[in-house]
């Protein structure tokens, strides 16, 4: 006979416990304000950043360590994914651990980390900020105070099929209309049958925020104004989003592109399926590989992004260096950042890791220009580049952008409705915190 008992109930509960995986997480309290100047203590510190795949960073640390035997810097390698790096930084801050001293952070985290008191305000006069690209310096600031020093930067480029454009005697386009016209001509070529016209990163992830912001900026609008107020209900923002939406409708952008992140897009470009491709500079070397992986090696060029009625504007990528509030030996950390982010090291990072430098002077170095043929174009792109919204709740802001931009390009929402919803949500997100 069936006999109900506590055993069964307890069994069910225990099972649910083990299987249900209830996770607990520590609650983070706000940190204390640290004014610049409180950098005391010397001794060994750690530099926390993503994987050092080429060994360049370790080489640089070895040099520092030889010169500073009592203030050695150890490299704490974090996972490659930016999300996981952020998670580790946050856990480190919430346990107030001194395990990480210098943090190599994505540019979009500055506001969140500064507002939570996890990183220390830095003395502006001790860094050569004047020699750096102004837009990169802006990414390290929060409430007009410097919290992070630009380490490297990044901007989008328009990769185009030079061989095909030459055949129709076209120059790389400066506007969206020119791009469309050139595309129509190229598509008429027998050699270019079935080729797609333009793609960027349109899957629902951070890349969409980047591409949407670029469309808005390239139409003369802004996602967030200088005071931090969202302005995606402007006519310019509408023109920007319409470019993407109509692009999908008219076939300028292939249907597949709504699933593209960086890598699927790169595969398509390398297989010769795209005439124009908005991509980060890293594609240059890979698409030029002559080992057979790329069908377009030597057949493409780069140009700054096109815009609505003139050159477009890119979103800004890159990394900044900051000092953890809970670190020991902050005097060493400050000295180390000054050295680690200097011109020589920036040159080295470009040379061996293709990391775009934040110093304008490096872009006119002729030896490096020779090695990186895209360098002067990248500089042009960087000069008009705009940082993504600097919002404390960046995760919520970017999701609001992705949600509505995605709905618009997939046709689930009309452009006006999507932008109105985005404006409301962004207003709520920026006001809440």
């Amino acid at each position: 006979m069936y006999r109900p008992s506590w055993g069964r109930t307890v069994g069910a509960l225990v099972l649910a416990l083990v299987a249900g995986g209830v996770t607990a997480c520590g609650n983070g309290g706000g940190g204390t304000t640290a004014q610049p100047g409180q950098f005391e203590g010397r001794g060994p510190i750690t530099l926390a950043q993503g994987k050092d795949t080429t060994g360049t960073v370790q080489g640089q640390l070895d040099r520092w360590n030889t010169d500073h035997p009592n203030e050695k810097v150890t490299l704490a390698e974090l996972p490659e994914s930016a999300d996981q790096q952020r998670q580790q930084f946050i856990q480190n801050a919430q346990t107030k651990s001194d395990a990480f001293a210098v943090l190599n952070m994505d540019v979009i985290w500055t506001a969140e980390f500064a507002a939570n008191g996890w990183i220390q305000q830095l003395p502006e006069d001790q860094f050569p900020l004047g020699e750096m690209l102004p837009s990169t310096v802006a990414t390290g600031k929060y409430f007009n105070k410097l919290y992070a020093v630009p380490y490297n930067t990044n901007a989008g480029l328009l990769f185009y099929r030079k061989d095909l454009l030459d055949q129709v005697q076209a120059q790389p386009p400066k506007t969206w209309d020119e791009m469309q016209a050139t595309c129509a001509k190229v598509k008429a070529l027998p050699a270019a049958a079935g080729i797609g016209c333009y793609a960027g990163q349109f899957d629902k992830y951070e890349g969409l925020t980047v591409n949407f912001s670029e469309a808005v900026q390239s139409a003369g609008g802004k996602v967030v104004d200088d005071e931090g107020k969202p302005t995606v209900n402007s006519p310019e923002a509408k023109a920007g989003l319409e470019f993407l939406v109509n692009g999908f409708k008219s076939g300028l952008i292939p249907r597949d592109a709504v699933t593209y992140q960086e890598e699927p897009g790169r595969r398509a470009f390398q297989e010769g399926k795209l005439i124009f491709h908005r991509q980060w500079p890293y594609q240059w070397t890979l698409a030029n590989a002559t080992d057979g992986s790329s069908k377009v090696a030597g057949k493409f060029g780069v140009a700054p992004l096109p815009g609505k009625s003139g050159p477009g504007s890119s979103s800004l990528g890159g990394q900044n260096l900051a000092i953890s509030t809970y670190a020991k030996n902050k005097a060493t950390a400050l000295d180390f950042i000054k050295w680690f982010a200097n011109v020589e090291n920036a040159k080295k990072n470009l040379d061996s890791n293709s990391l775009a430098p934040v110093y304008s002077s490096i872009y006119s170095d002729s030896a490096l220009q020779q090695k990186f043929a895209y360098l002067s174009v990248l500089k042009q792109s960087l000069d008009s580049a705009v940082a993504r919204p600097r919002v404390v709740a960046y995760g919520d802001a970017t999701l609001a952008i992705q949600e509505n931009a995605y709905a618009a390009i997939t046709g689930a929402k009309a452009v006006d409705a999507a932008l109105a919803d985005m404006q409301n949500k962004l207003t709520e997100v920026t006001a809440r915190r």
Partner: protein, 328 residues
């Protein structure tokens, strides 16, 4: 489990002793000694369980009841937080935009569990029946069936991502142009397919174990009585394999209710068509809203517990190994 083990010795002892308290005192003392020894022997397990299971649950409950109010100090830009106890994190689950997101995630979680649960049960039983038969290459077949189960979920999600890419095999075979990883029913379906592929072997393996203990005589008797194969399956195989099957399905169901990695890697975060409760909790935690994240986790926990309880009550899953005791 531990409660069960501790509760049993006295119960087992009492049953033959109809005379009640009339037993010798020495036996009582011995029994107390055995009890103490059992407690001492079990304490490491209990302490470990308390630390890794009990404490997080209590802490999650506490967090879910902590309502954090925060605003930015307009001069310093620093976040100022105040926390108090309250039920706002729970009421927030059903209100407004986050409410819609929660209900959507709850629906996804449930529909994944139902659809995939049914599919893996049917396929798993079929696999087990095939694996149970003697034929050439049976060893190879058994090994092949187990491969999906051996591949870590995140890896198999990546594999399926390739299969479901626009120019992938799935579209090739079906001769379609479906953008599987975009929002919509197809995204949901891709997760169901991938999860079925991965976990049907698990059911298959456990059911196979159950099949192997069914005595051959039962089948011989059925044959002699002229039972059709179909009849034999429904009247003999299924009832006899049911204890193993029910436990296997229960485990699978609990796994499905906390599904996270497959939709996350295969389709991507933030896609509403496949967002599950675990993903929602993760997302809130990522955005430092620990209170609501804990509330999601607690709700998921309660939901899982209820499902497990109902499953055990209704289908009589024998999870704690009480064997035939319930039938006595």
């Amino acid at each position: 489990m531990s409660t069960e083990t501790r509760a049993r010795p006295p119960a087992a002892h009492r049953r033959p002793g109809r005379l009640g308290r009339a037993e010798p005192k020495a036996s009582d003392r011995r029994r107390a000694g055995v009890g103490r020894l059992a407690a001492v022997l079990l304490s490491p397990t209990l302490i470990t369980l308390g630390l890794v299971v009990g404490y997080p649950v209590v802490e999650a409950l506490r967090l879910s009841l902590t309502v954090t109010d925060q605003h930015i100090n307009q001069e310093t830009g620093l976040i100022e937080r105040t926390g108090q106890l309250g039920f706002d994190n729970y009421t927030g689950l059903f209100r407004g935009e986050s409410g819609a997101r929660f209900l959507n995630a709850l629906w996804n979680t449930t529909s994944f569990a139902l659809a995939t649960g049914t599919l893996v049960t049917v396929l798993g039983v079929l696999m087990a029946l095939v694996m149970h038969r003697a034929f050439r290459g049976r060893g190879l077949f058994r090994a092949a069936v187990l491969i999906p189960w051996a591949i870590p979920t995140a890896i198999s999600a990546l594999l399926w991502r390739w299969i479901f890419s626009t120019d992938g095999i799935a579209n090739d075979i079906l001769n379609t142009q479906i953008l599987w990883t975009t929002e919509g029913f197809h995204a949901w379906l891709s997760v169901v397919i991938a999860d079925t592929w991965k976990t049907a072997p698990f059911i298959g393996l456990l059911v196979l174990a159950g099949l192997q203990v069914i005595p051959a005589e039962v089948y011989e008797a059925a044959k002699v009585d002229g039972s059709s194969p179909w009849h034999t399956f429904w009247k003999i195989t299924l009832p006899l394999v049911k204890p193993a099957l029910v436990v296997a399905v229960l485990f699978r169901l609990l796994d499905l209710l906390r599904m996270f990695d497959l939709p996350f890697v295969l389709v991507g975060r933030g896609k509403r068509s496949v967002e599950t409760l675990s993903m929602l909790a993760w997302d809130d935690m990522q955005n430092l809203r620990f209170g609501p994240a804990a509330a999601y986790a607690v709700v998921l926990f309660a939901y899982t517990a209820v499902v497990a309880y109902l499953f055990i009550r209704v289908l009589g899953a024998d999870v704690v190994g009480r064997g035939m005791e319930g039938k006595r």
